[in-house]
């Protein structure tokens, strides 16, 4: 899934974040930015466009993250974009998150939901996943309105789909 340059970048990001001592915050911020990046077509095409001067792209990142993320996060994203790897950013962030969670002997559970989960819900879901799969996980929530309701959890290759979207799809299948 992740080829060697992506893993290399993820390792580099992890090393920097760890050295800066704010791994957890950087991890959350990078994850959030990656979600925004994937969801926003304009942002994605601008940052990946080689014809746009690097300085301007970096300025755009700085404007976006100003006051919302740490300087470390902004620097790391700028580094990836200026290296011309903007298109690989989601994969690099995924690898980074896996690497980070792995450093704490945990797996990453990506939860897609129409609304954000409360702290209490996250805690319960973490426990539930541990009970269900036997894995220590860190829950990362991705807001995805297409889920409609409920949630979809991805842990590695395992998927636990309890979304309203799935129910509707099942209903659609039953009509055929």
């Amino acid at each position: 899934m992740a080829d060697s340059p992506i893993v290399g970048y993820a390792d580099a990001l992890f090393s920097v974040a760890e050295a800066e001592g704010n791994l957890s915050a950087v991890e959350d911020e990078l994850f959030g930015f990656a979600q925004t990046f994937q969801a926003n077509e304009e942002l994605r095409s601008t940052l990946a466009d080689a014809s746009v001067p690097v300085a301007r792209r970096l300025q755009l990142i700085e404007d976006l993250l100003d006051g919302k993320a740490s300087a470390t996060t902004a620097s790391l994203i700028s580094m990836v974009v200026s290296a011309g790897r903007a298109n690989d950013l989601p994969a690099i962030v995924d690898a980074f998150v896996d690497r980070s969670a792995g450093s704490r002997n945990k797996a990453v559970a990506t939860v897609r939901s129409a609304i954000d989960l409360t702290g209490e819900q996250r805690q319960r879901l973490t426990e539930a996943i541990k009970t269900s799969t036997g894995k220590e996980v860190e829950v990362k929530v991705v807001i995805d309105p297409s889920v409609l309701g409920g949630a979809i959890t991805e842990i590695g290759d395992d998927i636990i789909d309890g979304s309203v979207r799935r129910r509707l799809n099942q209903l659609r299948e039953s009509f055929r």
Binding site: S113, A114, I115, L117, T118, Q121, R124, L125, E127, A128, I129, T131, S132, T133, L148, G149, G150, A151, T153, I160, G162, V164, L168, L171, R172, F175, R176
Partner: protein, 235 residues
């Protein structure tokens, strides 16, 4: 040829004696009378008495009467028989020696020629019959061959007709089946399309209803339910 020449010569040679025996009645009477006169008179001078005497002599009258007797119509004179028999014998010998063999040879040659001609004709006839029979055999062969060819052509035509007919029927059946299958497929497709359309409309409506009914509380409840589901899934 030779035989005829010999017979002619013999006739000329023996003409004299033959004619002596054939004298007339008058000369016979004269001769007999003169002879009787000589015997009576003994001299050269003949008197009327002599004549009278002789004329009344019965012996002389018998001789003269003999002259008046007609010659035998059946039995010829002896000399004539002798001459005729001799000539006949000579002629017979010549004929037997020369004539018959020649005639026989000619006859044989002619017979042989006729036989050869007959044989040739027979041979020609046989040849002609052979040729005729050959021709007849060839004709019969030709007739048989032509009949065979016609029969063959007929069989081929029949076969061809049968094949074409079968092919046509098969094609028609195939086309009919295909048409029926097409109709079925189109019907099924139409039904499926219609069902998809209807279900799409219904699901779109359902989705909008769900979206509008999912407020924050409902979302939270769904999340809670999901967490419970995960907990219970393998627990």
């Amino acid at each position: 040829m030779v035989a005829s020449l010999v017979s002619l010569m013999s006739i000329v040679a023996f003409a004299g004696p033959a004619s002596a025996s054939g004298e007339s009645v008058g000369s016979c009477v004269a001769e007999k009378f003169e002879e009787s006169l000589h015997h009576h008179g003994e001299s050269d001078h003949v008197t009327s008495d002599d004549i009278h005497h002789v004329a009344h002599d019965e012996a002389v009258q018998d001789e003269l009467e003999a002259c008046l007797e007609a010659p035998s119509p059946i039995l010829p004179e002896l000399t004539e028989i002798i001459w005729g028999g001799a000539a006949f014998l000579i002629l017979l010998v010549i004929m037997v020696k020369k004539g018959f063999p020649a005639v026989k040879g000619a006859m044989d040659a002619r017979s042989e020629k006729i036989r050869a001609d007959l044989d040739a004709a027979e041979q020609a006839k046989t040849d002609a019959q052979t040729v005729q029979s050959d021709y007849e055999a060839q004709l019969a062969d030709a007739k048989t061959e032509s009949a065979r060819i016609i029969e063959e052509a007929r069989v081929t035509a029949d076969q061809l007709r049968t094949d074409l007919s079968a092919q046509a029927e098969a094609s028609i059946a195939e086309m009919r089946e295909k048409a029926a299958a097409d109709v079925e497929a189109q019907k099924a497709q139409a039904i499926a399309d219609l069902r998809a359309e209807v279900s799409g409309i219904a699901l779109g409506a359902a989705e909008r209803v769900v979206q509008s009914s999912l407020d924050a509380d409902a979302q939270a409840r769904l999340i809670d339910a999901y967490i419970d589901e995960v907990t219970g899934s393998n627990g």
